[in-house]
């Protein structure tokens, strides 16, 4: 393993710095904007009717995807905040709430409210503690940050298929 820079810090310093870097990254991971388009840009310039439209051949609208993201982020936060595992849904379909265009504003607001709850946990010192059976708090946060990213990639694709991309402020290109 090559070391890119001279590094005379002690192992404890290095360890602490890596841990802090990870903790600081978690909230950013939920928001994108680093290695892929940020969540606010991705949801911007989208009216309720477009958000609720399902492109031909696809199973979900932007609204479906966002309410699904919310479902799992809420499930994750309940586990972390209650400090114990919660039951898994019986079927994947249970995690795709029935929504209509009238729900768009509410679902979008809930997404940001859930992110604010995530922020409170990213810097906690017990990220190494198991909380969901063997899964630690840190693992759970990382898993669902990237579950969010996975479906935000799909939100961009759905918008492209609807001819509604890039948003007014531009996509993630340079």
């Amino acid at each position: 393993m090559a070391v890119s820079q001279a590094d005379d810090r002690t192992p404890d310093d290095r360890n602490e710095r890596a841990q802090l870097a990870f903790a600081r990254l978690l909230p950013k991971l939920f928001r994108g904007g680093q290695a892929f388009a940020g969540v606010e840009a991705t949801l911007s310039g989208l009216d309720a009717d477009t958000a609720a439209r399902v492109p031909d051949g696809l199973p979900h609208s932007v609204l479906n995807l966002l309410s699904h993201i919310n479902w799992w982020n809420r499930w994750m936060l309940d586990i972390i905040e209650m400090g114990q595992a919660q039951p898994y849904p019986a079927h994947a379909a249970d995690t795709w709430p029935a929504v209509t265009a009238a729900d768009w504003g509410r679902v979008r607001n809930e997404f940001y409210e859930l992110l604010a709850r995530v922020d409170a946990h990213a810097s906690r010192p017990d990220l190494a503690n198991p909380v969901n059976h063997e899964e630690t708090i840190g693992e759970l946060l990382a898993d669902f940050a990237l579950h969010t990213a996975h479906h935000f990639g799909q939100i961009v694709t759905v918008r492209q298929l609807l001819g509604s991309w890039p948003p007014p402020a531009g996509g993630d290109t340079w």
């Binding site: 590094d7 710095r17 190494a128």
Partner: protein
């Protein structure tokens, strides 16, 4: 303060596993299952990219990160387009040439390498050329991978090629 071993374990599990697709998503292996060259190069409807182009893009950045971790100094593209290698295929066309299987093989190999690096405390704590622990880049790249993994699924859905024979991520 938790011990170094604990940090490495948490980070390694949390981020390392995500390079395969992660427990909350379908795996890359499943997402690419039975996607033949003739379909991998097809660009559906209004979309800008085929599944093969997306995989080639993710592989470009995987190779970039691996170069950096190896202590080399890879050139950063001047524009985003520089991270989208020219590939065969296009609107209504299949993948041209026989390198789709090669691309998949090198892609999955490098995914495994990055997973290994994320689980190696020495690599995670090493500073990159911007002075940040590689934990940062590894985490960001894991996010980039999962973001585009979602798009490969959507492209396959738009082509009527989802779920794969082994099933999607449903129960």
């Amino acid at each position: 303060m938790v011990s170094e071993g604990q940090v490495a374990e948490v980070f390694g599990k949390a981020v390392g596993n995500l390079f395969r697709g992660g427990p909350a998503n379908v795996s890359w292996e499943r997402a690419l299952e039975r996607l033949e060259a003739s379909d991998a190069g097809r660009v559906p409807g209004l979309l800008p990219h085929s599944a093969a182009q997306i995989v080639a893009h993710v592989q470009f950045w995987q190779a970039y990160l691996l170069e950096g971790i190896a202590g080399n100094d890879p050139a950063t593209p001047e524009h985003a387009a520089g991270g989208w290698p020219a590939t065969g295929g296009g609107k209504g066309e299949g993948w041209e040439g026989g390198d789709w299987e090669d691309l998949k093989t090198s892609f999955l190999r490098d995914t495994g390498r990055l997973r290994g690096h994320a689980r190696d405390p020495e690599v995670v704590q090493t500073l990159d050329r911007e002075g940040r622990p590689y934990a940062v880049a590894l985490t960001n790249f894991a996010g980039h991978n999962l973001y585009h993994l979602g798009q490969v699924v959507t492209v396959r859905q738009a082509l009527g090629l989802w779920p794969p024979p082994g099933g999607g991520d449903t129960w």
